[in-house]
């Protein structure tokens, strides 16, 4: 009865809202997008070097690893999980690929697959610890963080592994039409696939249900454990891919690559509107979150802000960005 009335009222109010607002809503959560725009405008005024094609290409390239990891993390966080191990997996996958090529002397494509596989395997093991071992995701992936980093150091003996074919290095350097780096193209493709998966695949939709209320999801007949296992494996595989991109960009496998990256990755996802309590999050929001972090670091570098103050500013901006969004969302209700 009045539920209907209420309903119609909502719809009526929706119609009154300006269309650009609706556009934002459609794109993701409007809060972070507004934050991103403000940031871009401010930085453009402060530094002439900021809003140049070249710099934009740089930023996109710089965040490509972050963005790829954040894609997997988005799915994990939607299920109310968390993955602290992605930074370590970046290091492990690079080292495994490097070792396979340089030490074992296998061809580069095999090395590449090995890196990807070890990432997926690490994610799979985290998933098993969570689903079968009933560990909280925080602990399971914290353990994996430590184990993957340790293994990367063991395999490489703490030394970078270098010496790859030129074509491999050029993969991340090549720019389509002179402006679009392949790694950026890869990010775009992966994000489109990710968005489509979460929106259109039944198992993508299941993730929201699992994060919203795991018991209900189970009672509705969803294969909760299997979906979770898939999500952590995918997050691991994407982290592995991130490690390979970094390997190509640096032309060297670093056992310590990606250390601490997990916090940036989680921040990007949460700035993008996902909730650590699960059930909420979007791929487009995550992209905005990753861009905010990328632009912020880039801008502070361009402005030559002292390294010490950078940390203070980044902390403050992250807090403010998310706060604006949460408070805005709250005031709407």
């Amino acid at each position: 009865m009045s539920a209907t009335t209420q309903d119609q009222e909502t719809q009526a109010r929706e119609a009154e809202r300006p269309s650009w607002n609706r556009f934002f809503e459609r794109f993701g959560s409007s809060g972070p997008l507004v934050g991103l725009l403000v940031l871009v405008v401010v930085l453009s005024f402060l530094s002439p070097a900021f809003l140049t094609v070249n710099n934009m290409v740089n930023v996109f390239q710089q965040i490509s690893v972050l963005a790829i990891l954040a894609l997997g993390m988005t799915a994990v966080i939607i299920t109310a999980g968390i993955d602290l191990s992605v930074g370590s997996i970046v290091g492990l996958s690079g080292v495994v690929a490097g070792w396979t090529f340089v030490e074992a002397g296998l061809p580069m494509p095999v090395a590449f697959l090995a890196g990807l596989a070890v990432g997926a395997l690490a994610g799979f093991i985290s998933g098993l610890m969570i689903t079968v071992g009933k560990l909280p995701p925080f602990i399971a992936t914290l353990a994996m963080l430590s184990m993957a980093r340790g293994l990367a150091l063991v395999i490489s003996d703490g030394q970078p592994i270098s010496g790859y074919p030129d074509w491999f290095r050029n993969i991340t350097r090549y720019q389509l039409f002179g402006v679009l780096p392949l790694s950026v193209l890869l990010v775009v493709v992966l994000f489109l696939l990710g968005a489509a998966y979460l929106r259109y695949r039944p198992s993508g939709r299941a993730l929201y249900a699992i994060g919203g209320n795991e018991e209900v999801a189970r009672l509705s007949g969803l294969k909760v454990q299997r979906e979770k296992l898939k999500v952590y494996t995918a997050a691991g595989a994407l982290a592995g891919l991130g490690g390979l991109i970094l390997l190509s960009r640096l032309d060297s496998a670093q056992p310590t690559a990606g250390a601490g990256l997990e916090l940036d990755v989680i921040a990007a996802v949460v700035i993008g509107g996902a909730s650590l309590a699960g059930g909420r999050g979007s791929v487009s929001g995550t992209l905005v979150g990753a861009l905010i972090i990328g632009f912020l670091r880039n801008g502070l570098n361009l402005l030559d802000v002292s390294a010490f103050w950078q940390q203070v500013i980044i902390g403050a901006v992250i807090a403010i960005a998310v706060m604006t969004d949460t408070l805005r969302r709250r005031s709407k209700h």
Binding site: S47, L153, D157, T256, G258, N301, L302, D304
Partner: protein, 294 residues
């Protein structure tokens, strides 16, 4: 690369145990240092135990304490921090365990021997070379190590000395890239973006310098930009050899590690050792890189 350091063989006592506390093994420089130490220890047939503080002063204090518990005969410490190590060294002194410091010194306590290379000097050498290469005028940038670490501090201080002595040089950017190649690349890209007229980069370690190499390569500036690193890691030497990097500072970590263990063995055997042993700091450029490559 440390075979030349072979010891005199007079420290064959098999029951000598040496504890080596390293600041971090997640930096190739110290891994090489450890390798040098292990090689000497193996030759001498003594037992060497290594711990890794992962750049955390508290962990190092714990590790030293553990070594004291195990009553090692000599303690070799590569401090995370020269000030924070003092209480640990004093604890070792109290336990009657002689201490050798390597790479970084200690601000206090009794040190039986100090095997050092001078980070400040290295920073100055690097700066002077960089300025000379760009014709003593122009814009340069610095990539800093992990804020608050002594290597970042000392190398930065040496570079600053050189900068103060030069007149036409303009330091347009000095940004932290945390000793990592990954961040070195990102920060160098951004610095290059902000300063199109940049002539040279000093990175406080080779990893960041190699990141800068990748950034310069992407920007098409590899031939124009003078890049100077620090540590003389294998990758950096190769990069100098191929002309991608211009110079690095060799502290011969392997020699340092070896020398520290030799000193420790001598102390264990009751022999006299020099209180200060300086391992040379050398600038490696295209001219002399052949001497370092093996």
């Amino acid at each position: 690369n440390d075979d030349g350091n072979g010891n005199d063989g007079d420290a064959a006592a098999g029951d000598v145990t040496i504890g080596l506390s390293i600041s971090t093994l997640e930096n190739p420089f110290f891994v090489t240092l450890r390798d040098g130490a292990e090689a000497v220890a193996e030759d001498a047939g003594i037992e060497l135990r290594v711990s890794d503080a992962r750049d955390d002063a508290q962990s190092q204090a714990n590790h030293v304490q553990d070594f004291i518990t195990r009553s090692v005969d000599v303690l070799v410490v590569n401090p995370v921090d020269t000030a924070a190590i003092v209480p640990s060294i004093e604890a070792a002194n109290d336990a009657g365990i002689p201490v050798v410091t390597v790479d970084r010194g200690s601000d206090g306590g009794e040190i039986a021997a100090h095997v050092a290379s001078d980070n400040v000097l290295g920073g100055r050498l690097a700066g002077e070379f960089l300025f000379e290469q760009i014709g003593d005028s122009g814009e340069v940038a610095q990539l800093e190590g992990i804020a608050g670490t002594s290597a970042a501090r000392d190398r930065g201080a040496g570079f600053q000395e050189a900068l103060d002595a030069a007149s036409g040089i303009d330091l347009v950017g000095s940004q932290a890239a945390n000793f990592s190649r990954d961040e070195g690349l990102t920060v160098a890209e951004n610095v290059l973006q902000a300063n199109s007229g940049l002539a040279g980069v000093f990175a406080q370690n080779d990893e960041m310098a190699l990141g800068a190499v990748e950034a310069a390569r992407s920007a098409g500036l590899l031939d124009d930009l003078v890049i100077v690193g620090f540590d003389a890691t294998d990758d950096a030497l190769a990069a100098i050899d191929s002309g991608e990097m211009d110079a690095t500072v060799a502290q011969l970590p392997s020699d340092m590690g070896g020398a520290a263990i030799e000193a420790a063995i001598a102390i264990a055997n009751g022999d006299d050792v020099d209180a200060e042993q300086s391992v040379e700091v050398q600038l490696v450029t295209a001219d002399n890189v052949g001497d370092f490559l093996e």
